[in-house]
Symmetry: C2
Subunit: 225 residues, 2 copies
């Protein structure tokens, strides 16, 4: 099992604020885990006894709505922590986490995190900043949901995925999502998401390589009103 002190992943999240000693201690009680694409990491309502540090892969955080749709609220990738919100508020999770591809995560028990939050104020501040950032993102999403069209939201989603999660060597978006996933991010019917993507394709702003999407005209996508 790898050692946290030597793990580069921590550089990308608030664990970087921990001291060497604290990391060694965490290393001793963490458990590594492989998760297959499609597997559920935790469910809505589940009590989390720790956080996951994502070493590889990507997952979606979603919440089931009364109308039966599973709204995707956020995506968590390699380098980020998963489940910190629920852990801190000491409530059961309000979201479900599902792997979008094969993942590798490390589970760090709650007791460790809380011990460090108590002793290491630099760590607390990093977690705070992280959460402040998430909150800002959420505010933006609320405004977009409320004020923009499905076409605009879908265009912005494609740009977001492109900018945040990167592309494969051939230029296709590295994250592979089903049309249903796109619909659940944007908050629309699957058919509508399909239609808009087909439209983008017809207009030449995107193309598809197998199941992968490639942005052909980023400027046009950004211009969509």
């Amino acid at each position: 099992m790898g050692k946290c002190e030597q793990c580069i992943i921590k550089q990308f999240n608030s664990l970087k604020a921990l001291t060497k000693d604290e990391l060694v201690r965490i290393s001793g009680c963490k458990t590594s885990k492989k998760i297959k694409k499609g597997e559920i990491i935790f469910e809505e309502g589940e009590v989390l006894n720790g956080v996951y540090c994502v070493r590889d892969g990507i997952c979606k955080l979603s919440k089931l709505s009364e109308n039966g749709k599973d709204q995707i609220v956020k995506m968590v990738v390699k380098g980020q922590l998963l489940g910190q919100r629920s852990l801190i508020s000491e409530e059961s999770s309000n979201l479900q986490a599902t792997a979008l591809n094969d993942m590798e995560v490390c589970f760090i028990p709650k007791s460790e995190i809380f011990a460090d939050l108590q002793k290491n104020s630099k760590f607390s501040l990093e977690v705070l900043k992280d959460m402040a950032h998430d909150l800002r993102d959420s505010d933006d999403i609320i405004v977009n949901m409320a004020q923009k069209s499905v076409r605009q939201r879908l265009a912005e989603t494609l740009i977001y995925i492109h900018d945040s999660f990167g592309t494969n060597p051939d230029g296709t978006l590295s994250v592979l999502l089903s049309r249903e996933d796109y619909a659940n991010i944007v908050g629309t019917a699957t058919e509508s998401a399909i239609r808009v993507l087909s439209q983008f394709k017809k207009e030449g702003t995107i193309s598809t390589v197998g199941k992968y999407i490639k942005i052909e005209n980023l400027a046009a996508l950004k211009r969509i009103e």
Copy 2:
């Protein structure tokens, strides 16, 4: 000028985790301020040099969308802290705060807050919990925006205001909002908000006393699909 150590308001927010000494120090450098209904407390893009502790009144936090509408993202009432997100992330504010009625606030400088975050881990944890809670609320709003009808969202908004901000002696909602405000919370056109409220009135689920709204049938409002 009142003393923070003796102020009851702090019981309702994370300042309650501060020690007597810390409160005395804050008391020495805070400034009290009265804000008139309709006044802007801070604007989108403005850099905040502290947080506001709301002693009385209520304000809305909104963000201007590209389509010209001013989406209301959150409301902050008596007892709560205002501006903590921006302060912590050390970015300019992403939201504008506008007083919905006459307010009384205390401004606590950034340096004080950061000093206490550094020294008092109990305080940090309280702020963290606060923010975790806000984040959960935001997730819920995203799902509602994406999946529910204007009618449902407006019904839920009325219930939320009723439950969170209370009623006047005659049973009317204590928070007075314009139809435009309701539209901006729900994310719809003002005319649509007006229409739905008229509908509710016709159906007898709400009534109006002057400009105030009274919920007549809470159960019916909760049942709206």
